[in-house]
């Protein structure tokens, strides 16, 4: 690659490396190093040093500053990625999570010396329980998928405690992939339940599957088409009639804060995605946090330890013989818990309700503005997100993916595409409550412009994106010849 100052970001950190250059600063040893080394058996010592980059601190700062500029983030772009709730990540929460009292606290600090963080965790669990109408909450799961695993394992343990051997878990065909995956991981067979065109559960099909071999029904509310399941209470009742536990995937909780509570709907378990509803940043893929809430009958099975309050003192309770065990080594993603706590305390009850009201309003506004230009997967009103289908555009050779790429050129990140699977050429749009009407209008104008372009010159759309650092990438090549790590030979000359 010929050197181009304007594309210096094109180099990987290894390609900036030069022998002997350093970016670290470490004190000189104040104790004997050689003697200690001699205590380590020769065969245990590293022979060849790891080929890590050798760069200066400026190289590091400039390289990663430039790389960051190749990203779209919520901070720079509208990010209508359905099912991901890409809302604004408050700066205040970042500051709070970085207070040394939280950020620099070791997980094995004696409980008596960690009362502040334990109090925060205890309060947060109680607030989440109130928000979801659950009786108890574990903050330990690292993300939604781990919350799912924890939830299903608790259900399994409960059935076993009741001497039942159930083998199946029902999951709608509209479900997110983690639902069936978590089910399998928990040792269950996944049975798909049909949804109708609105993504609502086909009750006859559900009825057909319910039975003594079914451990649980796992369902997302609002569903992945952005609709509230109108017969949800009936569904949980029917499940319970068959001794089937009902799990709510809480990824879409942003739609119903203060409006409807999983617990009141009859759910036995539900998880929270703090990185969606509760503003902890997505970080380019994580970390998040996936607390799980349960009804009283499942409380004995919660992961250990549980943060408890004994008189005025907070403690980690390990003495829980029926617990399913642990999901990560320590107590949960505390850094994320601090952010979520700060958010809930900032919003208060009315604020949280306003969050959902505006999330629903924004989604319906977008759906309304676009319904004339794209097929709508399900009739409105929707909840916090709406799903369009590029069926119509597809006939002109313009796919949902093409539309997504074109949006990048117009200054917007793309909606989720091809999810849920039951909608052909799906474009799943979740504006969130933190975006203004002006931004929504701008996005809708861009979408309408693309719909028009699909009629007038599809080719332009196929050529998109043009303004991004790279153009469309060869996915097939990536999978055919996996190149998963840099090797020196790649060094541009």
């Amino acid at each position: 690659m010929p050197y181009d100052g304007a594309r210096q970001y094109d180099r990987l950190i290894f390609e900036l490396s030069s022998p002997g250059r350093i970016a670290y600063s470490l004190p000189e040893p104040d104790v004997d190093v050689e003697g200690a080394r001699a205590r380590i058996p020769a065969g245990y010592r590293r022979r060849q040093p790891a080929e890590l980059p050798e760069v200066s601190e400026l190289d590091v700062v400039r390289h990663y500053s430039r790389l960051s500029q190749l990203n779209y983030g919520v901070d720079t772009h509208f990010y209508p990625l359905g099912s991901c709730t890409m809302k604004y990540n408050p700066r205040l929460n970042e500051d709070m999570a970085r207070l040394p009292g939280f950020a620099r606290l070791h997980p094995l600090t004696p409980e008596g010396s960690a009362q502040g963080v334990l109090a925060l965790m205890h309060e947060l669990a109680a607030m989440l329980a109130e928000i979801a109408g659950m009786d108890a909450v574990s903050l330990q799961p690292a993300a939604g998928a781990q919350g799912e695993l924890a939830g299903i394992l608790m259900i399994r343990a409960w059935h076993q405690a009741n001497g039942q051997r159930r083998t199946k878990v029902l999951v709608p065909d509209s479900a997110h992939g983690t639902n069936p995956a978590s089910t399998t991981l928990a040792g269950y067979e996944t049975i798909e339940v049909k949804s109708n065109a609105s993504g609502e559960v086909d009750l006859d099909d559900l009825e057909r599957h319910l039975g003594p071999d079914v451990a649980a029904f796992m369902i997302t509310v609002p569903n992945t088409l952005g609709n509230f399941e109108p017969r949800i209470v009936e569904i949980t009742e029917r499940c319970h009639a068959h001794g089937v536990q009902v799990y709510m995937d809480g990824a879409n909780l942003n739609a119903i804060l203060g409006i409807s509570r999983p617990g009141d709907l009859g759910f036995d378990v539900c998880h929270f995605n703090l990185h969606k509803t509760f503003t902890t940043p997505h970080g380019g893929g994580g970390p998040g946090a996936g607390p799980v809430g349960v009804k009283a009958h499942l409380e004995p099975f919660l992961p250990v330890p549980v943060v408890v309050k004994q008189g005025e003192r907070y403690a980690l309770d390990w003495k829980r013989p029926r617990s399913i065990g642990k999901l990560q080594a320590f107590w949960g993603n505390v850094g994320m818990l601090v952010r979520a706590y700060a958010y809930i305390r900032t919003m208060g009850p009315d604020g949280l309700r306003a969050v959902s009201d505006n999330a629903v309003l924004n989604a319906n506004y977008v759906m309304k503005r676009l319904e004339g230009h794209y097929d709508v997967a399900a009739p409105g009103p929707c909840m916090h997100e709406c799903v369009l289908s590029a069926r119509r555009q597809k006939k002109r050779g313009v796919s949902a993916m093409d539309i997504a790429k074109r949006l990048l050129d117009l200054g917007f990140y793309a909606p989720s595409t091809y999810f849920p699977l039951i909608v052909e050429e799906a474009l799943m749009i979740e504006p969130t409550e933190t975006e203004s009407r002006e931004t929504l209008d701008a996005f809708c104008e861009a979408m309408i412009r693309i719909a028009r372009e699909a009629e007038t010159d599809p080719a332009a759309i196929h050529a998109a994106p043009r303004t991004t650092p790279v153009r469309r990438l060869d996915q097939a090549k990536a999978a055919r010849e996996p190149d998963l790590r840099w090797r020196p030979r790649q060094k541009p000359s």
Binding site: I13, A23, Y24, L26, D30, V31, G35, A36, R39, R45, R46, L52, E54, E57, H63, S65, L67, S68, Q69, N71, D75, Y79, N89, R98, R104, P107, L108, T109, G116, V117, G133, A142, G177, L185, P230, S260, P281, G283, G284, A289, Q328, A329, F330, W331, G332, G335, M347, G348, D350, V355, L361, K405, A414, E435, T468, R471, L473, A479, P482, Q490
Partner: protein, 448 residues
């Protein structure tokens, strides 16, 4: 409300455009009995200054490593975090982005993950590393599951030196399926080879060895590899990557899968999370790996670009038959580690390891000079952490030293009743000789 841009006027205009009179009209699909009929019972909203005051008070009630001299380990360590890391991961383009599903608008994240995968593969001496899992313990659980899938066997043998918290997580992940665990004792602080040979056999999917192990002792990984491979089992090594500037790469000692906790690589202690689940394996397992992988490819114009690849392994494609259920991982912590390894580099990481090792050995020597204080496993070599036997109940000693702003170590009673008289002491490059001497002096009075 500063996070909600819609004004009453915006709302009226939008409702009119939609053709309804109120947000309530948009909630019609929710049956009455599904509605919450009262406001949530939560504390009222706090203004920024009040919230900051409240959270500062909570934070101030914790004994953190800036104010206390920290000798705590047991899976999380107070290593030095170079200043550029927080500045760079705080750039909004990094921390407010989602998983790079649109690669053209996500090259920043994709390139850093590709760098991360390369660095981890280098460090561990393995062929491939994934884009991260939740933490060290869940990475180990995923490794056990993968070993089962690869070998078609159901038994996982765990070396006695494995962190008990990790063991608990593996057991939980395996509880729903057919996984069976076998514990191999470590009476002398390291794996008992004979016991291991007996435990590992035709049903064994993997032998799991942690080194340095929970007690701080170094295991004979090559020996363990022989035992595992002789039985057709995989060797899974639990490592602490920050040590690998000095300790041999497990991959060069026969490991088939290497997992570990990456917290030491620039990730804040944060009372236990979010941390960084490191996962690396041999090339032939690449299509069995859990989690995301970033690969290099080219764009329309032939320019180098990066994408998420081999996604058919993952839940959003393979669903019930995915290699794992993980979706959100810990990308930003992986970025911290990437920047950390770029800053420390080839020489720096070795320096960090040498300093930690040397100070730990100085501390062990210094502390065992105290009457009644001895190494619990004198025969086993250790690295930056070691287990002491104390003449007084460790809990009391620790509580007493905390009052002198020293976090002396982790009492092991809660982990293993047999070690009720033991204290686990970790020493990183951040500890000075003077701090270690202070610990020694304080400990001496405390146990006198």
């Amino acid at each position: 409300m500063r996070y909600l841009p819609n004004t009453a006027q915006d709302q009226r205009a939008m409702l009119a455009a939609i053709g309804v009179g109120s947000v309530e009209d948009l909630l019609v699909k929710i049956p009455a009995k599904a509605r919450l009929s009262r406001p949530l019972q939560l504390p009222p909203a706090l203004a920024e200054t009040d919230l900051v005051r409240a959270l500062r008070a909570l934070a101030a009630a914790n004994a953190h490593a800036d104010d206390y001299v920290c000798f705590l380990g047991g899976g999380a360590y107070d290593h030095y975090i170079p200043s550029p890391i927080n500045h760079l991961i705080s750039r909004g383009e990094f921390f407010t982005a989602y998983t790079p599903y649109q690669p053209e608008a996500s090259q920043g994240t994709l390139r850093t993950i590709y760098e991360y995968q390369t660095m981890i593969a280098e460090l561990t001496g393995m062929d491939v590393a994934n884009a991260s899992l939740y933490d060290g313990a869940s990475s180990l659980a995923e490794a056990a599951l993968m070993a089962m899938a690869v070998t078609g066997r159901a038994e996982v043998a765990l070396a006695g030196g494995l962190n008990p918290l990790y063991r608990r997580v593996v057991a939980t992940y395996g509880s729903g399926i057919t996984m069976r665990l076998r514990d191999v004792p470590a009476p002398a602080g390291v794996l008992d080879a004979d016991a291991a040979r007996r435990a590992v056999g035709g049903k064994t999917a993997a032998l799991v060895v942690q080194s340095p192990n929970f007690y701080g002792c170094l295991e004979d990984i090559a020996g363990a590899a022989e035992i595992a491979h002789a039985a057709g089992a995989l060797l899974v090594v639990v490592t602490d990557p920050v040590n690998l500037g000095v300790l041999e790469a497990p991959g060069r000692l026969g490991a088939d899968i290497v997992v570990g906790e990456g917290q030491g690589l620039g990730v804040p202690l944060s009372f236990g999370g979010p941390y960084l689940g490191v996962f690396a394996a041999r090339q032939d397992f690449v299509r069995r790996l859990p989690g995301r992988l970033v690969g290099a490819t080219v764009d329309l114009d032939g320019a180098r670009g990066f994408v998420l690849t081999l996604q058919t392994r993952e839940q959003h494609i393979r669903r019930a038959r995915a290699t794992s259920n993980i979706c959100t991982n810990v990308a930003l912590c992986a970025l911290m580690a990437t920047i950390y390894l770029a800053v420390l580099g080839k020489q720096g990481l070795t320096r960090v390891g040498e300093l930690s090792m040397a100070k730990a050995h100085y501390a062990a020597e210094r502390l065992t000079r105290i009457p009644g204080v001895s190494l619990r496993f004198p025969a086993a070599p250790f690295f930056k952490e070691f287990t002491l036997r104390l003449p007084r109940p460790p809990e009391r000693v620790v509580a007493r030293l905390a009052r002198q702003r020293i976090l002396a170590g982790v009492p092991l009673k809660a982990f293993d009743r047999r070690l009720r008289d033991c204290l686990l002491v970790a020493v990183t490059e951040k500890r000075t000789r003077e701090e270690i001497d202070r610990l020694a002096a304080a400990l001496e009075t405390a146990v006198a």
